[in-house]
């Protein structure tokens, strides 16, 4: 059990730390609110204990901040302030409990235990696994009533396993849960603790393999197959019996459930024929199905039934698209019964979220916009209309739409949809845009797709079709990840699709491994799921091929296999796989393994955040690096130069020679910048042809020198387009120096940009430094 203690009183922190550590808790101590916040965001804790009065950030604000970020773990506030107003403040901020100093340590510990129990209410207070019992209140561990004497680490290990008895814990996860930051152990240390624990288990006649090694993955508790009667040992061992009984019950009542679905279908068909007499019955049946299907293992079925119920609550006047939607859900619901129910698992997120359902229509044709809005509202969207580009700009900021539907033509001079699209691509790339226009030139299509629009629709178009594209774009832009599954068994594929699709994953299922490579390159998945045994090519072969290709070396690969003997598992990992799930597939296990892998990949991507075309850091990443660099420079009192670079006359390059040439120029320029600066410097691409270079330990004069040399080199670089045309490009740059010309990123940017502007005014192809006299 890991606790974060945020307490600035050193003595109290030490005392609590000692007291809690003696009782086998792992404690991290943060001495101010800000670092407490960082700890909580970065590491997993079971409980947070916060002092209220703290330097930098007080406990209540800290608690509020975490809760606003959907932080779920229990929070206990610790304070000397003892009046009810403070308590109300604390609890309203999202704290779960409130203890007044001076604290009785016994009481504090009891409250922590109670919070942890509540936080994970599904677990009984005494943890059991077959004959093994662990009582967190007394720290006593017994096997078949025989006591085990464990070291604190052995105890903590066992507690971790017992709290999630079916989970496989990787070494990293164990270390993160069981050791505080100051003393990270080696893997050997961990192995020694596991070994110690196994020896002690053996001494009380427990199987030493009770803690099972999952090769290449980690450790978990071994299944208890011959456990005694379920009533005595609690839920875990009873699972199979109970699940089998529920399964048998399901077979018996299935005909009744199907009758319910029939009634529901009758009601919906009647609605389609404008007969509302059966609506009430249909709604009731949908309600009952929603309430029961999940209990029998049809979780997605339950949510489909709930969708239907919610729509049927509406009194009357169903639009055709609503009827269609109801019928689609019904078909899907029926399909559910063709597969086996799955064990319980967390509810998939329902897509799309309300904030993603906000649609902004930017079109000067108000009549059309209103028609679209009406249609969109029946699809459950919230809609706003802007009839000019000017009107759209503030709406984008205040309304923060999940999707923009944009016309390209506007009657006002100087107003162009493409312009807005360009601004959006630069400033709000996360908002998906669908272009709806009467224009039809290839050039338009090209520019639109280059500016990152998700779809190009040609007017006129039937409303439902517009909405279908819009919904698809929203779904796609909020898709967690793309997963390619290769399995030669079509039924298995269908099952996997059903299992995974409610999780917002975009899936591509392939049943013929011979077209694997093509699918891989077309679909560009974020994760690959491979069946072990397949005709033509085995999963192992595919995995090896993927790993041999540099581009795909980092793609996470998950195996599905019916064999889990160590030789097979060994082969799987040898081939370069990241993880495996054994067949028959358990839904919850597959989901959690899959998201584990994806999260790790996402983390790596976030760390990189490179611009694909130039290989440079993107705006977000470079801003982050620059801020860091400035902080270090400030501490050591060193100058930093901040330069904005712009390629000269770049638009004509694109217009005259095409975008492919433009991309080539950008790529080369990026390459040159990367090669010309040190690792300490920051080089990033901030927009179309706009670059930033920040040089550590360099004053403005030296920076201008270096950039001028670079300009000379760049000027002489020739792009041979064909025999006749030889293209040369120049750049302009402005330099500002930290801290003289500005002590933060925005100021430096503004001033460097002014200098850049002056360089352009002066005829381009030159480097200027910021001059407070002229550039004010």
């Amino acid at each position: 059990m890991k606790i974060l203690l945020v307490e600035d009183d050193e003595y109290l922190a030490q005392l609590l730390n000692q007291y809690l550590s003696d009782r086998n808790y792992i404690v991290d101590v943060a001495v101010d609110g800000e670092s407490g916040l960082n700890y909580a965001r970065t590491f997993d804790y079971d409980v947070l204990v916060l002092d209220v009065v703290l330097p930098k950030l007080d406990g209540i604000t800290l608690c509020k901040t975490l809760r606003s970020e959907h932080y779920q773990m229990p929070v206990l506030l610790l304070t000397a302030l003892d009046n009810s107003r403070d308590k109300v403040l604390g609890l309203d901020a999202g704290a779960d409990d409130y203890v007044v100093k001076p604290v009785g340590l016994e009481e504090l510990l009891a409250r922590i235990r109670a919070l942890v129990r509540r936080g994970r209410y599904s677990r009984p207070p005494i943890l059991t696994w077959g004959p093994l019992q662990l009582d967190p209140a007394t720290c006593e561990v017994t096997y078949d009533s025989r006591p085990l004497s464990l070291t604190p680490k052995e105890y903590a290990l066992l507690e971790l396993f017992l709290r999630s008895p079916t989970q496989v814990f990787s070494r990293e996860v164990i270390i993160e849960h069981l050791w505080s930051l100051e003393e990270p152990p080696t893997e050997n240390t961990l192995r020694a603790h596991i070994k110690g624990l196994r020896t002690k288990l053996k001494a009380v006649d427990a199987p030493p393999t009770l803690i099972e090694t999952i090769y290449g993955v980690g450790y978990r508790l071994q299944d208890y197959e011959d456990a005694p009667s379920p009533t005595k040992t609690g839920q875990e061992s009873g699972n199979n019996t109970t699940l089998n009984a529920i399964q048998a019950l399901w077979q018996r009542i299935k005909p009744n459930v199907l009758k319910r679905v029939d009634l529901l279908e009758e009601g919906i068909s009647a609605l389609a024929a404008r007969d509302e007499s059966l609506q009430g019955t249909a709604r009731q049946e949908a309600h009952k199905l929603a309430g029961s299907l999940g209990t029998f293992g049809y979780h997605y079925g339950s949510s489909l039934a709930r969708n239907i119920e919610e729509m049927l609550v509406q009194e009357r006047d169903f639009s055709q698209s609503q009827i269609d939607q109801l019928q689609r859900w019904l078909v899907e619901l029926r399909q559910q019964f063709q597969r086996h129910p799955t064990a319980a698992m967390p509810e998939p997120p329902t897509l799309p979220d309300p904030e993603q359902r906000r649609l902004l229509i930017v079109d000067d044709d108000r009549l059309l916009a209103e028609q679209i809005a009406e249609e969109a509202e029946t699809w459950g969207m919230d809609v706003k209309i802007a009839t000019t580009v000017q009107e759209a700009r503030p709406a984008i900021v205040t309304y923060s739409p999940g999707l923009i539907l944009l016309d390209l033509n506007f009657p006002e001079p100087g107003e162009d949809g493409l312009m807005l699209l360009e601004e959006l691509a630069r400033n709000r790339p996360e908002i998906p845009v669908v272009v709806l226009t009467v224009r039809d030139s290839f050039q338009d299509r090209l520019s639109v797709s280059r500016l990152g629009s998700q779809a190009f629709l040609q007017k006129p178009l039937p409303m439902p079709q517009i909405m279908e594209v819009a919904m698809e774009v929203i779904q796609r832009s909020h898709t967690a990840a793309k997963v390619l599954i290769v399995d030669d068994d079509p039924e298995e594929l269908q099952g996997l699709k059903t299992l995974l699709s409610p999780w917002g994953l975009e899936l591509e299922a392939l049943d013929d491994p011979r077209s694997f490579w093509q699918s891989l390159e077309l679909f560009m998945p974020d994760l690959l799921v491979l069946d072990f045994e397949m005709p033509h090519y085995s999963g192992i072969e595919l995995c090896q091929v993927v790993r041999n290709e540099p581009q795909w070396r980092k793609l996470p690969i998950l195996f599905l296999t019916a064999h889990t003997d160590s030789a097979t598992v060994d082969r799987i990992f040898q081939a370069g796989a990241d993880d495996y799930v054994s067949k028959p597939i358990s839904g919850p296990e597959l989901i959690s393994r899959l998201f584990n892998r994806l999260e790790r990949t996402k983390l790596l991507q976030n760390l990189a955040e490179l611009d694909a075309l130039t290989g440079l850091a993107n705006r977000r990443k470079s801003s982050y690096d620059i801020t860091n660099l400035l902080r270090i420079a400030l501490r050591h009192d060193r100058p930093v130069s901040f330069a904005m670079l712009d390629l000269d006359h770049f638009k004509p390059v694109n217009d005259t020679y095409g975008h492919a040439t433009g991309d080539l120029v950008l790529h080369r320029f990026g390459e040159m910048l990367r090669e010309s600066f040190r690792a300490d410097d920051v080089v990033g691409r901030w927009g179309g042809e706009e670059f930033v270079v920040v040089m550590a330990d360099t004053d403005a004069a030296s920076a201008v020198d270096r950039l001028s040399q670079l300009l000379q080199q760049w000027r002489s670089h020739e792009f041979l387009l064909d025999d006749e045309v030889c293209l040369k490009v120049t750049f302009s740059a402005g330099v500002a120096q930290f801290p003289q010309d500005g002590d933060d990123l925005p100021t430096l940017y503004r001033h460097a940009d002014r200098a850049l502007y002056r360089a352009k005014e002066a005829g381009r192809d030159r480097v200027f430094s910021y001059d407070p006299q002229t550039d004010c």
Partner: protein
């Protein structure tokens, strides 16, 4: 400790059955089942179960009315009542606030978590 006894009041046969089966197998508890509010009240007065699982949406005598009646009899008044509600039906909850309702369990529930959830909600140590 003597075996716990639980009364389920729900008009839907499938839910009643799966709940009964789960509580018997997972909790080792004795389970009584009633398919209507009035039947439930009668069973409760006769057997004095340790807890009642009560469905909210039932024809004729619904959960709200059943809970009221249970509160009116001094012998059933102290029995903790857990409501079974479909998700998203939280708006009915405030009507139940003064009726001695201990907590709610939302439908569909995970059968394997039902016993631990009830134990936790009622603070039953075993």
């Amino acid at each position: 400790m003597s075996t716990r006894c639980i009364l389920i009041i729900d008009d839907e046969e499938d839910i009643r059955e799966v709940t009964q089966l789960t509580l018997e197998l997972e909790g080792g508890w004795q389970v009584l089942a009633a398919s209507s509010g009035s039947e439930g009240v009668n069973l409760a007065r006769f057997h004095h179960p340790d807890a009642i699982l009560l469905d909210v949406m039932m024809p004729e005598m619904d959960g709200l009315m059943t809970a009221k009646v249970l509160q009116d009899f001094p012998d059933t008044q102290p029995i903790p009542v857990l409501l079974l509600t479909a998700k998203g039906a939280m708006e009915v909850m405030d009507k139940f606030q003064d009726l001695g309702i201990t907590a709610t369990i939302s439908k569909p529930f995970d059968p394997l978590q039902l016993v631990p959830t009830i134990k936790q909600l009622l603070a039953w140590e075993e």
